[in-house]
Point group: C3
Chain length 195, copies 3
Amino acid sequence: MIEVLGIIVFTISGAFSAMQKRFDAFGVLIIGFVTALGGGTIRDVLIGYTPVSWMRGGHIPLIIFVTGIGTIFFKQYIKNLKVTFVIFDALGLGLFTIIGIQKGIAAGLSPEICVILGTITGSFGGVLRDILLNNIPQIFRKEIYATACIVGGIVYFLLTGTFNNEITRLVTISIICGIRLIAVRYNLSMPKFYA
Amino acid sequence: MIEVLGIIVFTISGAFSAMQKRFDAFGVLIIGFVTALGGGTIRDVLIGYTPVSWMRGGHIPLIIFVTGIGTIFFKQYIKNLKVTFVIFDALGLGLFTIIGIQKGIAAGLSPEICVILGTITGSFGGVLRDILLNNIPQIFRKEIYATACIVGGIVYFLLTGTFNNEITRLVTISIICGIRLIAVRYNLSMPKFYA
Amino acid sequence: MIEVLGIIVFTISGAFSAMQKRFDAFGVLIIGFVTALGGGTIRDVLIGYTPVSWMRGGHIPLIIFVTGIGTIFFKQYIKNLKVTFVIFDALGLGLFTIIGIQKGIAAGLSPEICVILGTITGSFGGVLRDILLNNIPQIFRKEIYATACIVGGIVYFLLTGTFNNEITRLVTISIICGIRLIAVRYNLSMPKFYA
């Protein structure tokens, strides 16, 4: 259920970015699609879990299609929901990260790699979105984003084994959401360097 | 045979774009390669059909190599074939879309996903080309392109079962080609939105 | 061992490029990661060798992490090692190319395809780096780079069978390194064309 929420929020985020670049209706839908599913797709391809997840059932593309069309029609209304949107985006980030970690564990990969897979799942949809929009990926220069996934992933492996699965997941999502919301609220970013 | 024509036309299209950005000979060949095979490669990777199609026989890279070199030497002559070129490009689009749909069916995927795979096969070589050229992908902003694939894909599934395979393919290709040629002729594009 | 050197050098090269675009610490590490592992990852995905190589043991991400952090702290010092750096980069290019060729052979692919896989392994990490930095990929316009991989790959297949494996590898690496170093020294590039 929250997974669907995550997909919807990421679709809306992608669709808005595409409309800002004056893409056509098809472009808006595609960018929404890529933003929502890109991270998980890269993860599945790297693991070798093919056909990739969203191909196995037909309903996810439909959800994205409806969400994308809805975003086009109700864009003015959605714009006013900015705070709600940021919260759902942080929730989606946390959940996508955990899904990525658990897929890595299921594939028998090491904790280090699982954290990387969680981070890819949570944040690389946005990277693909920015590449298609011909922007430098935001996560490399703006507010803390992927760092929240990494910290959350490390916490996940510190807790798991000691606590049960529900508590581990809940704490991990809370930490990712928390870091992300604090970063947006106080406009925090990672230190930058210039060579 | 038409598949080879499609590959040749897409290679020429990619090679021209690369020459316009003053790429070197290697760059021209690579962009030709990516434009011709990128869509099918993404499709194969998403399905899990690996090694990907063009790796299974050595002749496709050779065709692209020869076509790319030929484009460099005869660029002035090819430029004058603009109308021929647009027609072959539309043919290639139609055929690539059908190949993608049929690969999806062979992998046991749902019609919805097969239409997406057809569209990816037909149009994502051009997306990769534009990313490598550091352009915003044309299909998101200019004439109708991927939309033709989607409409064709839907028609394919409406006809299949009722009509035999040859008729289904013929009608689908005709519709994709037709939409594409009309879009180019009358400079039609999808509606654009601005957020 | 030289493989690790190759990874370190490519990581440093990516990290520097990212710092020049004022990326944050996370961005610097990711670009280092992608530059070092991107080519091999694309190769593995195209072949269907999944989970991809660097996921099978945890130590490669760690090497990249440490190298990336080290690059940030010692950037002034590394800058002065320019000549050393170019030599290691050429060595890494040669070795990565051979690894790619041998993976292709192990997968039963034709020599033509193996040369392509060697070239992808050696040079597509840099292509991904440039895409993420929103630059036109350097290998399409600047000094000879991928061409060295292609020539080396062809030499590899000319020698193999006649000479033993060690000699074949040594000559191939020498040729790739040699072409690359001469190209950098004399600022050689492939002919360019303009359509």
